[in-house]
Symmetry: C2
Subunit: 146 residues, 2 copies
Amino acid sequence: MSNHSDLVQHLRARGHRLTPQRRMVLEVLQGSDHHLNAETIARSIARRYPNIAVDPATIYRTLKWLRDADLVSETSLGQNHMVYALISHHRHHHLVCDQCQMVVEVDPQILEPVRNEIERRYDFTPRLDHVAIFGLCNRCRAERAE
Amino acid sequence: MSNHSDLVQHLRARGHRLTPQRRMVLEVLQGSDHHLNAETIARSIARRYPNIAVDPATIYRTLKWLRDADLVSETSLGQNHMVYALISHHRHHHLVCDQCQMVVEVDPQILEPVRNEIERRYDFTPRLDHVAIFGLCNRCRAERAE
DNA sequence: CTACATGCAAATCCTTTGCATCCAC
DNA sequence: GTGGATGCAAAGGATTTGCATGTAG
């Protein structure tokens, strides 16, 4: 389920109302393969439809609605805002630099051994879909070494 | 370096000024082995010293100062606030159940392979001192299966 | 003494909410 | 037609900042 009409159908089938605003937010999320915050989504819509402005409150309400429908992930990358992405997109984790806030996407495979260990040793099912790992990037590490 | 006077010495040696407020924040952080947010720290101080109130702005400034001195970690656990903890050599990770909030402590060794991979493949130094992994515990998983 | 830390209040940023109006179904 | 969605403005919570005052060194 990755294209627009599939998603629309899925939502309709669950009795959700499909407004132009909701379609536009979905469209932006589908057009991006990385995480977006509410403001970025609003700007994307404004750029694509220069004569339309969707209210921030509506963006936020739409995102919560999509999150509650399990279609969108809501993640904190340690910045002062949440970021959102369609769940149907490939899993990926993030390295976030404590100092310069740079974000690097990480091969999801890297956490598979951890998943297995946690399931085996602790009988716990970890939700490792979007994990943020904080630390220092190479540039900032070098900078500090001085 | 885990007791109060050691920390104080360390900071003094670096030319930092040690005020009563800073000592109190340090004291609270040393008295807790889990992550605290600014408000909780303020309340702890108020409880311990009923006639003193440290301004929130001072708490935040102190925490940034300790973070910049690499004595305290500043982490986002996906809530709307940051949490802080002394960077100690006693690492511990936690499994947190999304449903029943149960918390289990996890062998820190479990993340060592991840640390190595991240350092090797991404030239990034992860700060894996207090990682929270969310998911479902065995009880809640069984409950959902019904 | 002096540079730096504090308290206080106001400002900021992201996000949520109340309410009248609007529109998808 | 009607319940749910929108826009607007105002409220909210966490955090930051400006500035006068206080104090650690």
